[in-house]
Symmetry: C2
Subunit: 351 residues, 2 copies
DNA sequence: CTGAAAGCGCTTACAG
DNA sequence: CTGAAAGCGCTTACAG
């Protein structure tokens, strides 16, 4: 029975000292042997390894973190100020991507949801200042979020997922929302010949909302008067999509194509169109944005722009590791391609 | 400029010593002042608090964890041996519940996906043995998973989500899958008068698969010969649901009701039924299980049993805190109620 | 080349 | 009552 400490819950905890004592060496020697460093003879190294295995020794993350000044963890910070609250399938993709990259480096993932009041700068910084994580991935923050700017400016290793044109010093991974939204709009315009278009925007204090709106307007403008475009403000919620369509139909204005800034709103709009007896895509073609899961399972399936959330998260995490390591720390931005996923809601023949 | 250490990435890190020096006291005094303990005069305490705020001091989690023998974090362990891999909406609900409970106690959440080969006992234990988490929530492990039994037996604070009748020493939170599945089946039997029933099972090395199968058979048996029941084995995947229905229709056997062991399979089955020209619920009534999001958005909406995943996770986490604290550590089980969520796929009039 | 000390940051038991 | 040491577990720079 090794002489060891006990945790708060009374479990025995095996330390390096226990391993060392069993073999009759110092804990320094045990550390070096297990770390593959130093000049420990092959024989004692072997004995130490065996003792460690027998005792079920696993290094204390706290001891190691304190000594190394590095926790071996990264944090995903989820601001609750966002429309994309935890619980949205978007985060499932993000978490999957982060986990994949973190597992490859044997790094822990900390999930940090900031339940604090909005604008609390400390809320962002706490996890990294406490050094429980060596760096952070932040996603879907509002443009108006002041904490984010402070976080980036503080020099903490942070990689953002999304677009942050107002944060030139940030490292970020995202997509070209303007181009993607323009492409979605052009699909209705050019492939389906729709001319009376409506865009239901996202929240305009989020960059994605801003950019997708611009892309829509760009496409209308590029049509040279061939198409007519109107805007309705939404907030990325299913309810907003439903309400937008209801108000649209209520006003009796003509519409043959709707570009929703995301799939949740497209689904809400789809339901409202069906409820009003409008055929999709017969009467109205619709497209969404995201492809996080919803758009595939509705009837009709929603044609959408696929935002590669998992891949963005994986790349962001890999990039974060480089920032933490001090290699490639210059601010930059990675833009991933977006695919048009054709389903039934636009009017394309079923696959 | 305080004299302070630097992290690996070169950031200055404010420690208790920096705070203490600015005020001209020892770090012990600073610790006591900030902790609200000890007999520090109100005046210096005030000064210390101010200094801490000015410097942006946040306690080092490693230093604190090492000293307190407690990390202040809990881990969600996700075995990848499961059908419920990370990326499934189930985990989003679980994470939301864990986060809510953890935030209320200012505890960190670590997401631990075990990418190791199945059966690696150490994979389960590593996170807790390294003391990076004070306890763990484990969910959706296979019945055949040997690591889980070892984990529970090791005495580490663990709370399981799900049913584990073969682990009497475990603390767990779950639902009564047998009763819930029976109730779903009886809904088709009694409310809709369906008599030719089929159950598409989950994987039978998972307790949920086993139990939901039993519930179906119980309902058939209780019908006293009024209804006929058959079984088709699935694995909780959409593809399995589709294939089950295809084989069913291929054989030309009569069926007027299908009880799917989860919603993913129900959706797959629904697609196959539609593709074959069978009306749901006109020709065939179907019910699913879970209600994690999918069943609400399909057409028709899938009638299902709602497994309160978020609530289970929240309760499991609260229970875990009690185990960690040493209060209420006796093995027990909490069973939460399951609601029948009526949608269109069973034949009930639209809400 | 090897053994043992120093110190990461924290909190509390202990000496004065 | 207050000040300063001890020690959590680890790794590596340093003394011998």
């Amino acid at each position: 029975m090794p002489r060891n400490t006990r945790t708060s819950s009374g479990r025995p905890s095996v330390t390096l000292k226990d391993v060392a004592e069993r073999v009759g060496v110092t804990s320094s020697a045990a550390s070096m042997a297990l770390g593959g460093h130093g000049r420990i003879s092959e024989k004692t190294r072997q004995a130490i390894r065996e003792a460690a295995a027998e005792l079920g020794y696993v290094p204390s993350s706290a001891g190691r973190a304190l000594r190394n000044q590095r926790s071996g963890a990264v944090a995903l910070i989820v601001p609750d100020t966002s429309q994309h609250v935890l619980g949205h399938s978007y985060f499932m993709h993000v978490l999957t991507g982060i986990s994949a990259a973190a597992n490859a480096r044997d790094v822990q993932v900390i999930l940090s949801t900031t339940t604090e009041e909005a604008g609390d700068v400390a809320a962002y910084q706490r996890v990294v200042r406490s050094r429980s994580a060596d760096g952070a991935i932040v996603t879907s923050a509002a443009v108006t979020d002041p904490g984010l700017e402070a976080l980036v400016a503080s020099g903490l290793p942070v990689v953002l997922i999304g677009n942050f044109p107002y944060l030139p010093d940030a490292v970020s991974v995202g997509i070209d929302d303007v181009a993607a939204s323009r492409r979605a709009t052009e699909h209705l315009l050019d492939v389906h010949g729709r001319t009376e278009l409506v865009h239901v925007t996202g929240p305009l204090d989020h960059q994605t909302g801003i950019d997708r709106r611009i892309g829509f307007l760009d496409a209308i403008e590029a049509s040279g008067g061939r198409a007519h475009g109107r805007l309705l403000e939404g907030d990325f919620s299913e309810a907003a999509g439903r309400q937008a369509v209801e108000s649209l139909l209520g006003r009796g204005t003509g519409v043959d194509g709707i570009v929703f800034a995301n799939d949740d709103m497209a689904f809400g709009g789809l339901q409202a169109l069906k409820a009003a007896g409008r055929s999709v895509p017969g009467d109205v073609s619709i497209v969404g944005f995201d492809d996080f899961g919803l758009s595939r399972v509705t009837t009709p399936g929603i044609t959408t722009m696929r935002a590669p959330a998992e891949d963005m998260a994986r790349r962001a995490t890999e990039r974060l590791f480089r920032v933490i390591d001090g290699s490639g720390g210059s601010p930059d931005r990675l833009t991933l391609p977006v695919d048009l996923v054709v389903r039934d809601s636009c009017g394309c023949p079923a696959a």
